[in-house]
Amino acid sequence: MPERDLAAEFRAGNVRGLARAITLVERRDPAVRRLLAELGQPRPPVVGFTGAPGTGKSTLVDALIRHWRALGRKVAVIAVDPNSPYSGGAILGDRIRMQGHALDPGVYIRSMGARGHLGGLSLATREAVRLLGAFGFDEVVLETVGVGQSELEVAAVADTTVVVMAPGLGDGVQMIKAGILEIADVLVVNKADLAGAQRAAQELRTMLNLAPRTEWKPPIVMTVALSGEGMDELEQALARHRHYLEGSGEGRRRMQARLREEAADLVGQWAREAALRLLEADGELGRLADESPYVAAEQILSRLGTGGERAEARA
């Protein structure tokens, strides 16, 4: 593959350059750092969408894209599929429900598997968001099905986290995963035309009232993504939350916490990679680990600390 001048491709608005740069992020290629340093890194607001399979998240995102496009805003979507089988392969199919925007150059959709990220999914998505900002997108949506830890990773990256629910199939609100209300900034009851939607909303309200009081009370928005019903209300709820983040200083606090978290994550990841290299290269260290991983870990840390090994991504 010939080296591409990604910065030039970004400036020219060539979507292939952007796509390639995100691949480099997934491969943890340090070239991305140089690219972002050259381009500057405006960070667009990120809205995270999470929810159980079948709640209509993608359809909802599709409707939201339409809404934003009507306002002339450029929108990027990162659809994360956390289901990654043992083989490391994946089938990513979330684009399908967002095909209303196929061929619209103001919309970019990227599917991301969990392969190789090993809990570092948020690292990759944070960096991808910067690239999307540098490319000129005004809004970024991070979408993931709420399984495993993926919704926590979304919440760790997004400014506003939307948790999507739908009535039906017996999965009442009481089935909501523990902790999900804590990450929700906006709650959506989608498929609001189905029986049980009102009851679901009522149950949610009750649960929210029982939750500890906070400054921001997550609104509950009823939508029918298929028909576009409730999209205005959703957009207003997102705008209100954005406004709240700015006005209350919460946005700044969150941003700061996120950057620090990211720094810590990076240390964790780089140290891990360096440790694996050390263990492979140094037979004695390896044998030590076979006996006591704790002792070996202390040794590794001290060697990394003295600069004996440069703990950073493959440079």
Binding site: L92, G93, Q99, L103, S111, G116, E273
Partner: protein, 140 residues
Amino acid sequence: MATRAAPPRPVRIVLAKVGLDGHDRGVKVVARALRDAGYEVIYTGLRQTPAMVVDAALQEDAQAIGLSLHSGAHMTLIPAVLEELRRRQATDILVFAGGIIPDEDIAELKRMGVAEIFTPGAPLQGIVEWLRERFPEVES
């Protein structure tokens, strides 16, 4: 547990149904087989126009496009995908196809630039091995 420091480069493949037919048994079976062989498959679903397929491949930074079609429009739609790739300066993306395609059309399509065509009865293992030759960097 692998003690690999950096993740392998995932080969990304866009699988698409072009044309109007809805016969997706074959493409789904292939998608599963490629996933199990370690590829990242981006399935774009039914009734994709050539422009949509190429657009998806560009956005997803796919190295290959696999087209499935059973409607008989292969001599119209496959060349249209190749043409769209030329227009978007992305002819480095490999195109392969599967479906009911007569021998003489296969020869013609290969002349036009299709890398390989798999007809009904082609073993999945053959498809996987062919891709592995084309993309030796994939891990599995």
